[in-house]
Symmetry: C2
Subunit: 119 residues, 2 copies
DNA sequence: CCTACATATCAACTACTGTTGAAATGTAGA
DNA sequence: TCTACATTTCAACAGTAGTTGATATGTAGG
């Protein structure tokens, strides 16, 4: 992940409705949620939600698939992991255990097989 | 951490200059960096940087202390951890190992003693 | 094929955010 | 105390982002 992607992702998360969307999708897990359900959950008009979903999708934080009349959205767990790892990269000059056990745990974590679960 | 704090933090990180500041401070570690050094590193005018530092401080992502003529800034590692944990809370209905090993590692991580290192 | 449903697109408006330049505050040394 | 250095504050401007209402696309059932 480069700076541009990270900026887009953080900017996307820095908005009330979009943050709620991502949190709802993170909680929902692999089953995901339909756009209509999200609109109700988050409390935003459908057309407006579309705008935000596009933003999140473009930022690599969510994915979507059509299922009949509905479009189902999922959290992009790999994208979220990449984002956190970008933020914590080179923590304390590459010695994250010095300042932050959470960052150390993340850095040691191999997430390459994550998305296979959401096919 | 509640939604308001998380929104402020993500919005703060979604800005080029502020993201660079945080990354520089995360890399720098407990020693921190002076405002002037940050201004040069990030490539932004001093008065403008002040604006961004205030924003980051208010979002709980950095701390500051005066040291002679300079003001030294540090990454607030606990704040960063809280932010990530807020984002990943209740991942896959409380079973993060289902969707994201990184989130599981974070959830299992106890970071309460982190800030003692930066006193 | 026609209707209803689900989602997406577009243009216009409003409000906010980041930048700039000038000036103020605070700190240390001669 | 006077001067230089480091950082912050303030007001004004320019550009961007989010909302709204109207309209368009795509999908399933009668």
């Amino acid at each position: 992940m480069d700076e541009r992607q990270a900026l887009a992702a953080f900017a996307a998360l820095g908005q009330e409705h979009r943050l709620r969307v991502v949190r709802a999708l993170v909680t929902a897990g692999p089953d995901g949620l339909a756009a209509g359900v999200l609109a109700e959950t988050v409390g935003v008009a459908g057309n407006n939600l579309s705008f935000h979903l596009k933003e999140l999708s473009h930022a690599g934080l969510i994915t979507s698939r059509r299922e009949g009349k509905s479009v189902i959205y999922n959290a992009a767990y790999a994208g979220l992991s990449d984002l956190v790892q970008f933020l914590m990269r080179d923590c304390c000059q590459g010695h994250p255990e010095v300042c932050n056990p959470a960052a150390a745990a993340l850095a040691a974590c191999d997430c390459t097989t994550v998305d296979a679960l959401h096919a």
